[in-house]
Each structure stands twice: as structure tokens, then as C-alpha cells.
């Protein structure tokens, strides 16, 4: 392998005899121009630019996915239909209904006339929740007793139901306290502050995750398909007949891909910043460097797939098989903390999980390497492992 490489040592200062700067630059330039690496890279760049499908893959799916996930996934509990059956029909009961619906969480749905109809509506999923105010409500209140209202919640969507339940209880609690005019404030008052995302904008959670997903998908797919195509069409043998070594061939493939994929990183960052106004609180440079590191993980995965698959169709199928668990177990959609314990531990072996943690921390929290170093270290290990295994396998297959 060392035979085919340009003599890197000569460019290092302090090695060999002292040089003049101009001479040094000239020889470097000459070395670059004549180097096989550059020629091979030129060939790769031309091949990529001619391949319209590849360019399409680099731009279109990532943008669409970022936009779709950013806009469509929204855990907000808002505008739920609340059916109301008010048997009491007094001023207080109407006030209670008003305080339940005077917010963006619930919309009053007065269509149900009695409790049975309300129950049927909840059963069919036409309304998300229903409230029944019993006829003797007012009398109970006047006698100073505790008056109950019945609340039915459609529990099919466990998450929404839980949050809706919390809202209803809280609204009724406040209403109940306000019924007694001289009530002093409650002694313990939790004052809640949401850090990093005070408005709880959902896209700020999903878009950084999707940056990781999109980079994984694109880099593994693009790198595997460029490698497999050479295998498929038999042009790899032609390349091997040239004096270039396997290392040079691979390096010449990786460098242009890396530059293109860095373009994807910028594209994703641009979409995140311009469309979703996701903040970038950490260092941009660190973000770019670590994203570059992660691209090597993606390229490593792609090369690995290319050494396993025999043709393009197999690559696509196998990459589906590999990427799906990588993505689902990374915390891009559902937070890792919510997963079962075994999966949570397994997710440490998932490079995407580390990268998504890095992206979220850099964009939203604005922390630096001091906090992120374990994840960076993990990524480094993945890069070294993936690249060395796949280069080894690739070279063995070639010779």
C-alpha cells in the first residue's frame, strides 16, 4: 500500500533538509497534479456529476424528510373536542364549561344531549373527552359539599389522554379554588421553566433528530451505491489494472463523497435554521467538525453494505434492514429515555444515537466538548472500526 502513496513525509516541516517555502509549495503542487489520487478523484467527481439520480438522492429526499418530519410530527395536545352534557344548567356550571373551553386545549362540542349519547360519541372516537355535570350539582355546591363532575376520556391514544387528563384536573382545581372568594394562594407553588425550548416548539425536537437520520440514510446509500455500481458493471477490475492501489481507489471515492455530504449537512442546517428557526446555540465549527466525523460513520456503513451485497437491489434491501433499527432506536422520533431498559443499553451501540445527542445538545443547549466528549469518543471508535473493517473486507475481495 505504501508504494502507491505520495510521499507525505516530505511535506512535513522539520523532516529532511530545510526548504524554502516557495520550493516547498511548488513541489507540493507538482506532487498533487501528478498524483494518481487526484486523477482518480477527478474521475469520481465527473462520474458523480453525470449521475443525475445520485444528485437527486443527495438533495431531494433529505429536504422532503426534514420538512415532513418537522411539520407533521407534533405532540401538542390542542383543539381536542370536548363533549358537554350540562344537566345543571346554572351560571356556575356554564362558567365551568367556559373555563374548560376558554383555552386552546379543548373545543366545546355541545351536540350531545344526554349522557348515553356522549358515551357513544367517545366510543366512536368522535370526541376526545366528555364532561357530565350532574343535575344536583348546584345544590351540592350551595350546601358546601364537594360536587363531582364526571369526565370521560378516550384512552386509546395513551399519551394524549394522559396530557388531557392533566389539563382537565388542573382547570377544575383552579375553578374550584376560585369558587371561594377569599381563598388565599396555595402555599406551595411550582414555578415551571422550560429550558432550551421555552415555547415547546415541537420541530425543535424533531428537526435535529432528522438531521442525523437524513445524514445516515444519504451517506450510507450514496457510498454503497457508488461502490456497488463499480462491482456491478465490472469497472472495478479495470480500476484494479491501473497502478493505483486499493487504498487510493477507496480514498479517491471517499473524498468527493465526503465533500458532497458536507453539502448535505449545510443544506440540513439551512432548512433547520430558515424554515423551522431552530437556534444554533453552540459552536458552528464544532457542529461541522462532528457532522464530518459522523459522515465517515455513514460512509463506513455504506462501504460495509457494499462489501456484503452482490448487486444494487440487494444493497437497497439490506440497507433498509440495517438503517431501520438504527433510526428507530436512536431517539430521533421517540426519546431514548422512554424505551425499555434493554433497548436503552443497546442504543449505546448505535452511532446515530450519539450523533443525535450531539446535534440536539449543540443546537438547543449550546454546550461544548466538555459535556459532549463521551459521545465524540464513541463516534471516533465507530469511524475507526467501520472504516478499517470495511476497507479490510474490500481489499480482500479485490485481491
Amino acid at each position: 500500500m505504501a508504494k502507491g502513496w505520495p510521499n507525505w513525509q516530505r511535506w512535513l516541516p522539520g523532516v529532511g533538509k530545510p526548504w524554502h517555502l516557495r520550493e516547498q509549495l511548488l513541489s507540493l503542487w507538482a506532487e498533487l497534479i501528478s498524483s494518481r489520487l487526484l486523477a482518480l478523484m477527478q474521475k469520481e467527481v465527473r462520474q458523480i456529476l453525470r449521475n443525475k439520480q445520485l444528485l437527486f438522492l443527495l438533495i431531494f429526499p433529505p429536504t422532503i424528510q426534514l420538512l415532513l418530519y418537522g411539520f407533521a410530527l407534533n405532540p401538542e395536545v390542542k383543539y381536542l373536542d370536548l363533549g358537554v352534557v350540562d344537566y345543571a344548567q346554572t351560571m356556575t356550571s356554564r362558567e365551568l364549561v367556559a373555563s374548560l373551553t376558554n383555552n386552546q386545549v379543548f373545543i366545546g362540542n355541545p351536540q350531545s344531549s344526554n349522557q348515553a349519547a356522549l358515551g357513544e360519541q367517545v366510543r366512536r372516537g368522535e370526541i376526545a373527552a366528555g364532561i357530565v355535570i350532574p343535575p344536583d350539582w348546584q345544590r351540592q355546591l350551595q350546601r358546601g359539599e364537594t360536587a363531582a363532575v364526571q369526565v370521560l376520556i378516550d384512552g386509546v391514544n395513551a399519551n394524549t389522554a394522559g396530557i388531557a387528563n392533566g389539563y382537565i384536573n388542573q382547570i377544575i382545581r383552579v375553578f374550584s379554588r376560585n369558587l371561594e372568594p377569599p381563598a388565599p394562594p396555595a402555599p406551595i407553588q411550582p414555578q415551571v421553566h422550560f429550558l432550551y425550548n421555552p415555547g415547546l416548539v415541537s420541530s425543535w425536537f424533531f428537526v435535529p433528530g432528522m438531521i442525523g437520520v437524513v445524514l445516515t440514510l444519504t451517506s450510507s446509500l450514496v457510498s454503497s451505491s457508488t461502490l456497488v455500481r463499480e462491482k456491478d458493471t465490472g469497472t472495478l477490475e479495470q480500476l484494479l489494472m491501473t497502478p493505483a492501489s486499493a487504498g487510493e481507489i477507496l480514498l479517491a471515492k471517499i473524498i468527493p463523497l465526503f465533500i458532497l455530504l458536507m453539502g448535505d449537512v449545510l443544506l440540513a442546517l439551512l432548512v433547520a435554521a430558515l424554515v423551522f428557526s431552530v437556534p444554533l446555540r453552540g459552536s458552528v465549527l464544532l457542529f461541522l467538525v462532528l457532522s464530518g466525523l459522523y459522515i465517515f460513520v455513514g460512509i463506513g456503513v455504506g462501504m460495509m453494505l457494499a462489501t456484503i451485497a452482490r448487486n444494487q437491489q440487494q444493497v437497497v434491501l439490506i440497507s433498509f434492514f440495517v438503517n431501520m433499527p438504527l433510526i428507530q432506536l436512536s431517539g430521533a422520533i421517540a426519546p431514548v429515555e422512554s424505551m425499555p431498559l434493554v433497548i436503552r443499553y443497546l442504543s449505546w451501540l448505535n452511532p446515530l444515537r450519539h450523533y443525535i445527542t450531539i446535534v440536539r445538545s449543540l443546537l438547543l443547549r449550546g454546550v461544548g466538548l466538555g459535556v459532549l466528549w463521551p459521545h465524540v469518543l464513541a463516534l471516533l471508535v465507530f469511524v475507526i472500526l467501520l472504516l478499517s473493517i470495511s476497507i479490510y473486507r474490500f481489499r480482500r475481495q479485490l485481491s
Binding site: 418530519y69 410530527l73 391514544n157 392533566g166 411550582p190 422550560f194 444494487q312 429515555e337 445527542t357
Partner: protein, 368 residues
């Protein structure tokens, strides 16, 4: 009719011969079910919570104990630094509760005492869950310690229907079932269709006296049967691993299942007849079927949260209607009365896809 069945038999023989595809066709759906079914949990159960207790009185300790007694939080060991935000910055804690030094004194005097709750807002959904939980627990704590002035006048008696334990798998797994059946039968059908074009075996079909509709139906029937096999497999997995049970009348589910698999296969055939090669077909199906079934169907979050122009697309996503049917069949159990509009919509979409496939095959013939 006979020619349709012959075409179907030929297609199945071809499918059976390709071992890798058979394996992937049967393993991938099950794997998807397991991964999605176990990994997609929206609410965290063991949320790391850091406490800064500057009061150190029995009251503050009782309050902290009550917070952890909900079993929703696990304590985070305090680090040496006294910064309340540091554990959240490092990702060790999802929230910090800061109890001020004069907490118990102020409470004893019935003065309002603020307790600062800092919540990591980067996970939007769990931020809400944590806030609700801490507020409800605080209220409960005040109630049992008789700290609330006056008596409670109105209480809500809440009943959660269908899913009283709020098991998230009851919501997610019927959705995964629909996602799986939206993607894999379509994927196989698209590959089968585009392969004929790629390998030019389609010329033999043109040369025969097979009519386009017979050809399409024969192919469709074959992959419909494969889809049924996949659905049986995934259903068994859902019953065994996640304890799903059919509740109520099974007929709407059976009808919906049949129509949905047909729609999925027809959609795959349509993509396959438009795509130029297998890679592009797989990409297109993966992108369109998978993303729409995942994002525009109400699989994870309520469909009403999808903003306006995107919400229009969700009307033509079959998975959206099928999820209504599966969730009804496995959780709600209202039967035909609740799901007939969804069934009609599915049938309409299946017919639409059939029309699209026939048009596309006609166009294929004209060109060659």
C-alpha cells in the same frame, strides 16, 4: 379468469425461487413490528430528576419523597457543583426541582412559597408530561398534608375508556400493523413489476394474448396472497408479544384488512410501472408509503396536529383509514357503526389505485 390465475401461479413460483426476497419478505415485517412496538414509547417512565433542597426540613423532605413516590421519577445524584442547570446541561437529569431556604417557614405561615422547577424543554412531549406530573403531585401533597386553605368544592371523576392503564402499546402496535402492511406488500409488488421491465420479460407478455387487466390482476393476486401471509405473521406477533386481542365484531377488521392489502399491492404495482429501475422503485415506495404511513396517518401523534397543506395529503393516505379500523378492532370495539366511513374510503382509494395501474400499463404498451 383462468389466465389471471395462471399469471398468479407463475408470479408465486418466481417469488418462491428467490430465497433472499422470501426471507426478507417474512422477516422484515416481523422485525419492524418488534422494533417499532418496543421502541416507540412517547412517555418516559423513569425520568431522572435532580433535587436542590436548600431548606432541609422535614416538610421539604416529605415533599421530595412524595415526588419520587409517583414512580415516574428517579433521583439523580447531586454533583459537586451547585448549579441547578448543570445536570440538565449534561443530560444527566431531565428536570431539577429547587426548594428555597425559607420553604418550610413560609408554608407554616401560610405564605405562598415558590418552588422552582427547571425542565429540559428539548424533548417537547416529556416536558409537558413532567410539568403535569409535578403540578399534580404538588397539589396532592398539599391536600394530604392539609395545607390547602378551604375545602375542595369541585372534583373531577375521570374515567379513561378503553385503555385505563394508559398502555402505550395498545395505541402504537395497531398502528405498526398498518405501517407494516402499507410498506412491505407494496415494496414486493413494485419490485416484481419493475423487474419485468428491467429484464425485458415484459415483451413476452406483450407477445402473448394476455390482456393488461388480467396481467395486473394476476400479479396483484399473487402479492395479495403474500401480503395476507405477512399480515397473518405480524398479527400473530402482535398477539404473542404485545398481548393484543380482537375486541368486538371481527368482520370490519377482516374486510378492512383485505381491502388495505389490495390497496397497498396496487399502489406498489403502480409505482413499479412508473419507475425505471428496481433501485428507484424501492426508493419511491420506501419514501412515499413509509413516510406517509408514518407521518401523515396519525400513527404517532393526533392527525389534527398536522398543519394545513400537509393535512390535505393525509386524506389520500390509506394507512390513515386502516389505522382507524385496526385501533377500533383491537381497542375500541365499536364495530361497523364506528368504522364504516373508513372502510368506504379504503375501498375508494383501492379502486383509484387500480385505475392508476391500468392507465400506467396501457401507457407502457403504447411506448414500446
Amino acid at each position: 379468469m383462468q389466465r389471471t390465475f395462471a399469471q398468479c401461479r407463475k408470479e408465486l413460483a418466481q417469488f418462491r425461487r428467490d430465497r433472499l426476497t422470501v426471507a426478507l419478505a417474512l422477516i422484515l415485517p416481523l422485525a419492524t413490528l418488534l422494533i417499532f412496538g418496543y421502541a416507540i414509547r412517547l412517555e418516559s417512565k423513569h425520568i431522572p430528576l435532580a433535587i436542590q433542597d436548600w431548606d432541609q426540613s422535614w416538610l421539604s423532605r416529605a415533599y421530595i419523597e412524595r415526588l419520587f413516590a409517583t414512580n415516574q421519577f428517579v433521583p439523580v445524584r447531586r454533583s459537586e457543583s451547585d448549579d441547578a442547570i448543570a445536570p440538565i446541561d449534561r443530560g444527566h437529569a431531565k428536570a431539577t426541582v429547587v426548594i428555597p431556604p425559607d420553604f418550610s417557614r413560609r408554608v407554616a405561615k401560610h405564605l405562598p412559597s415558590p418552588v422552582q422547577v427547571l425542565i429540559d424543554g428539548s424533548d417537547v412531549n416529556n416536558a409537558r408530561v413532567i410539568r403535569n406530573s409535578i403540578q399534580a403531585t404538588t397539589y396532592y401533597f398539599m391536600q394530604i398534608n392539609h395545607l390547602l386553605p378551604g375545602s375542595e368544592r369541585v372534583v373531577a371523576q375521570v374515567r379513561l375508556w378503553f385503555n385505563p392503564g394508559r398502555r402505550e402499546s395498545l395505541f402504537i402496535v395497531p398502528g405498526v400493523y398498518a405501517v407494516v402492511l402499507a410498506v412491505f406488500p407494496a415494496l414486493l409488488a413494485a419490485i416484481a413489476m419493475v423487474r419485468e421491465k428491467e429484464q425485458a420479460t415484459i415483451l413476452q407478455v406483450y407477445a402473448s394474448d394476455l390482456k393488461p387487466i388480467e396481467w395486473v390482476l394476476g400479479k396483484g393476486l399473487a402479492y395479495f396472497l403474500v401480503g395476507q401471509l405477512e399480515s397473518g405473521l405480524v398479527l400473530t406477533g402482535a398477539v404473542v408479544f404485545f398481548g393484543l386481542r380482537l375486541v368486538g365484531d371481527p368482520t370490519p377488521f377482516l374486510v378492512g384488512n383485505t381491502v388495505f392489502i389490495s390497496a397497498s399491492v396496487l399502489f406498489g404495482l403502480w409505482i413499479g410501472s412508473r419507475a425505471s429501475n428496481q433501485g428507484a422503485a424501492v426508493q419511491a415506495v420506501a419514501l412515499v408509503s413509509f413516510l406517509t404511513a408514518l407521518l401523515l396517518s396519525g400513527f404517532i401523534y393526533p392527525i389534527s396536529n398536522i398543519p394545513f397543506p400537509l393535512s390535505l395529503i393525509s386524506w389520500v393516505v390509506p394507512a390513515r383509514y386502516f389505522m382507524e379500523i385496526t385501533r377500533d378492532a383491537f381497542v375500541r370495539g365499536t364495530g361497523w357503526a364506528g368504522v364504516w366511513p373508513a372502510e368506504l374510503a379504503l375501498i375508494g382509494l383501492a379502486l383509484l389505485f387500480l385505475r392508476a395501474v391500468l392507465l400506467a400499463t396501457q401507457r407502457m404498451q403504447l411506448k414500446d
